[in-house]
Amino acid sequence: MTIMTYRQALHDTLRAEMLRDDNVFLMGEEIGVFEGSYKITAGLLKEFGEKRVRDTPIAEEGFAGAAIGAAMLGLRPVIEMMTINFSMLALDQIINHAAKIYGMFGGQASVPLVIRTPGGGGQQLGATHSQNIELFYAFVPGMKVVAPSSPADAKALLLAAIRDDDPVLFLENLALYNTKGEVPDDDTPAEIGRAAVTRPGKDLTLIGYSRMAHVAAEVAASLAETDGLDIEVVDLRSLRPLDRETIVASVRKTHAAVVLEDDWLTYGIGAEVAASISDGAFDYLDAPVRRVAMAEVPMPYSKTLETAALPSRDDVTVAIRQTLAAVGHRTAPLALGVPQS
C-alpha cells in the first residue's frame, strides 16, 4: 500500500500500462507539451515521445473518432476529454460509432478505447463547464461507464478499462484529483460492473458514485458519531453495467435508501437506482426512496448560487434524517423534530 492522490494514481497507472503494452497510447488536447489541463499526463511526453503521447488539434469529434478507428485495428488508445462537457462535441463518434461497432458488424471488430474525462461543478466554471453528463453514456448499451471515487479505485478501474475490449467512459472528478488514499501496489484490475459496499451498516443504505460516494462516506461517518446511526454506503463504481444486485441486497437489509448524485434529478442515474430498488426491494422498503441531486438550473458562476445548487453534506444529512423519521426510526435528535423543506 502507498498513500497517494487520486491524480497520482491515475498518472502512475497510465504510465505503468504504457510500459506494459506498446499498443497503449494517449491522445488529447494539451496532454503533452502542456502536460494536461489537470496534469494527469505530466512527464509522459518526455518519457514516451510524441508517437505515444499525442497532442491533438481542438477537434473532439476528429480525435475521438481517430481513437476509435485505431482501436478497431487493435491499438488501445486512452484519450483525454479535457472536461466531460467537451465530450458532447464527440457524441456522434462515441455513441453512434464506438458503442455500435461491435454489435452493428456482428462482433467482427471491437473498440478497446478508454475516454478519460473529469466531470463536476464547484469550481465556478459556469453553466457549460460544470456538468455531469455521464448519464448520456451510461444510457447506451455497448458503452461501459465507470466512476471511481477513491485513489485505489482510480487505479483498479483504470487498469480494468484499459484492458477491456470495449469502449469505456472513465469518469473522473475535478474535486477528487487532490484527495488522498491508500493504493495497493499490485496491479489487480477491478471488475467493471460491480458496486462496492464501502461501509457496512443496518439503518439505511446511502448510494453514490464519484464525488458523491466520497460525500456519502463522510456523512455516514459523521452521523455514526453524532447520531449513533449505522449507515451502509454503496459506491456504484460502475454506471453501466449497473450492479442492481448489490443495491437491492443492501436495501433489503436496511429497508431504507437515499441516493446521491452530482447531477440533475429528473431522468437521472438516481432515478434509475430508485426504480431498481422499487423493482427489487419494494416489499422491504419502510420509507420512500429519497434522492439528493443538483438543483435543476444551468450552473451559475456566482459562488453563493453555485454552492446552493450543488448537493452538500448538510443536504444529505437532512435527507437521511427525514427518511429515517418516515421509517419511525428512534434516535434522540430525530424525536425532536425534522426540518421541513
Binding site: F25, K51, T56, P57, A59, E61, G62, F63, A64, G65, A66, A67, I68, G69, A70, A71, M72, L73, G74, L75, D92, Q93, N96, H97, I101, Y102, G103, M104, F105, G106, G107, Q108, A109, S110, V111, P112, P141, G142, K144, D164, D165, D166, E191, I192, G193, R194, S238, P241, L242, D243, R244, E245, V248, S276, D279, G280, D283
Partner: protein, 371 residues
C-alpha cells in the same frame, strides 16, 4: 448538373490500347455485375425481402470498379451507406452481401448491419456507415494505427458530396494532413445530397479544391471513365503510401433516387432524359463495341454470367436462416462483465414474488363467496 458534367476531366494519362481494352472489358463485366446486383436488390426491396433503407450504386459503377481496382488486398476501405458494389468489388461473395440485405445469419455482418453496415475483416472492408461522415474520423484513426505500427497499408475512405459540409470532414482532413497519415479521401460527387444540389450546399462546388485548406494534394476525375478513375486512384494511393494523404473527387451521377423508395421528383424531365443517355455502362459498352473490343455475343455472355451470380446470391440469401433470438445479447460487449443486462422487453429486472393469493390460506367454502 450539366455544368458539373462538363467539368469532368481525367487526371492521369491513359494506358496503351491493348492493355486498356483488356482492363476495360473486365471493368465492363464488373460494372454489369454491380448494376444487376443492385437491380435485384431493388426488386427484393419491393418484394419486402429487404427492410430498412436501401441505397444503390446505380450510376456509380465506373467509380466503384475503378477505385477498388487501385487497392491492394491488404489495404482498408471505409465507406458510407451506399456500399453494396464496393463490398462486391472488395472481393466479398455477392451471396453474403445479398444475405446481409435479407438480414440473415450468412450475411457479411451476420444480419446485424443491413444495407448500410456491411463489414468484412478478411476483405478489409471496415464498414459501411449510416451516419453521414461517421466513417471519416474512424478511417483517419485506422491510418493512424497503420502509421503507428510502421505498416505499408493504405486506407481509402469514400464519402458523398454532401459530407464535405460536415465538421468531421474538416477535422479528419486536418488531422490526416498534420500527421502525414496514409489515407485517401474519395468524394463520390453525384451532384446530389438526397435532393440538395452541390451548388446549394457547398460554397466551393469544386469540392476537390478543399484539399488546399489542409495543404493536401487533390484532383478531380471523370467518374464515368473507369480507367481514369483507376489511374487517378492509383496515383492517390501511391501518394498516401508515401505518407502524403490525398483528396480525390470522382464526378459521377446517381441514376435513381437517393434510396429505393425515393421517386426523385426534384429532377426535371430534361435531366431524367439526359441520365437515360448518360448511362455509364451503356456508354462504355458502345465505346468498346465501336473499338472492336466487345461485340453483342460477348455482352450477352457477360449478362448471362452475371445473371447467374445474382440469381445465386438471391437464392442463397432467401435460404439462409434468420439469426436465432438466443443470439440477441451476443454482441453488446466484446469483454463480458457482470450485471450486463440480458433482459427481453417483457421480463422483469427481479423475479416477481409469488402472487399474493398463493400466500393466503385457501378460502373456506363454508363462508360462501359473499366476502
Amino acid at each position: 448538373m450539366a455544368t458539373q458534367a462538363r467539368q469532368r476531366r481525367s487526371a492521369v494519362p491513359q494506358a496503351a490500347p491493348g492493355e486498356r481494352h483488356a482492363q476495360l472489358r473486365q471493368f465492363y463485366r464488373d460494372m454489369v455485375l454491380v448494376r444487376r446486383f443492385e437491380e435485384r436488390a431493388a426488386r427484393a426491396y419491393t418484394e419486402a425481402l429487404i427492410g430498412g433503407y436501401c441505397h444503390l450504386n446505380l450510376g456509380e459503377e465506373a467509380a466503384v470498379v475503378g477505385l477498388m481496382s487501385a487497392l491492394r488486398p491488404t489495404d482498408y476501405l471505409f465507406t458510407n451507406y451506399r456500399e453494396h458494389g464496393y463490398a462486391i468489388m472488395r472481393g466479398i461473395d455477392p451471396k453474403r452481401v445479398m444475405a446481409e440485405l435479407y438480414g440473415r445469419v450468412d450475411g457479411v455482418s451476420k444480419g446485424w448491419g443491413g444495407s448500410m453496415h456491411m463489414f468484412d475483416v478478411t476483405h478489409r472492408l471496415l464498414g459501411g456507415y449510416g451516419i453521414v461522415g461517421g466513417q471519416l474520423p474512424l478511417a483517419t484513426g485506422a491510418a493512424l494505427a497503420i502509421d503507428y505500427r510502421g505498416g505499408d497499408e493504405v486506407v481509402m475512405c469514400t464519402l458523398g458530396d454532401g459530407t464535405t459540409a460536415i465538421g468531421a470532414f474538416h477535422e479528419s482532413l486536418n488531422i490526416a494532413a498534420l500527421w502525414n497519415l496514409p489515407i485517401v479521401f474519395v468524394i463520390i460527387n453525384n451532384g446530389l445530397g438526397m435532393g440538395t444540389t452541390v451548388a446549394k450546399s457547398s460554397a466551393e462546388p469544386e469540392l476537390y479544391k478543399r484539399g488546399a485548406a489542409y495543404r493536401m494534394e487533390s484532383a478531380r476525375v471523370d467518374g464515368f471513365d473507369p480507367l481514369a478513375v483507376r489511374d487517378a486512384a492509383a496515383a492517390a494511393v501511391e501518394a498516401a503510401r508515401g505518407g502524403r494523404p490525398y483528396l480525390l473527387e470522382v464526378v459521377t451521377e446517381r441514376l435513381r433516387g437517393h434510396s429505393v423508395v425515393d421517386p426523385a421528383k426534384y429532377r426535371s424531365a430534361a435531366e431524367v432524359e439526359r441520365l437515360k443517355e448518360e448511362d455509364p455502362i451503356r456508354l462504355l459498352g458502345a465505346k468498346l463495341t465501336a473499338d472492336g473490343a466487345l461485340d453483342p455475343d460477348a455482352i450477352a455472355a457477360i449478362e448471362e454470367e452475371v445473371a447467374a451470380i445474382v440469381t445465386a446470391a438471391a437464392d442463397f440469401a432467401a435460404s439462409s436462416p434468420s439469426p436465432d433470438v438466443s443470439t440477441l445479447f451476443d454482441y453488446t460487449y466484446a469483454t463480458p462483465v457482470p450485471n450486463d443486462s440480458r433482459r427481453l422487453p417483457g421480463q422483469p429486472l427481479f423475479e416477481p414474488l409469488p402472487a399474493s393469493a398463493a400466500l393466503l390460506p385457501a378460502p373456506d367454502p363454508a363462508l360462501g363467496a359473499s366476502a
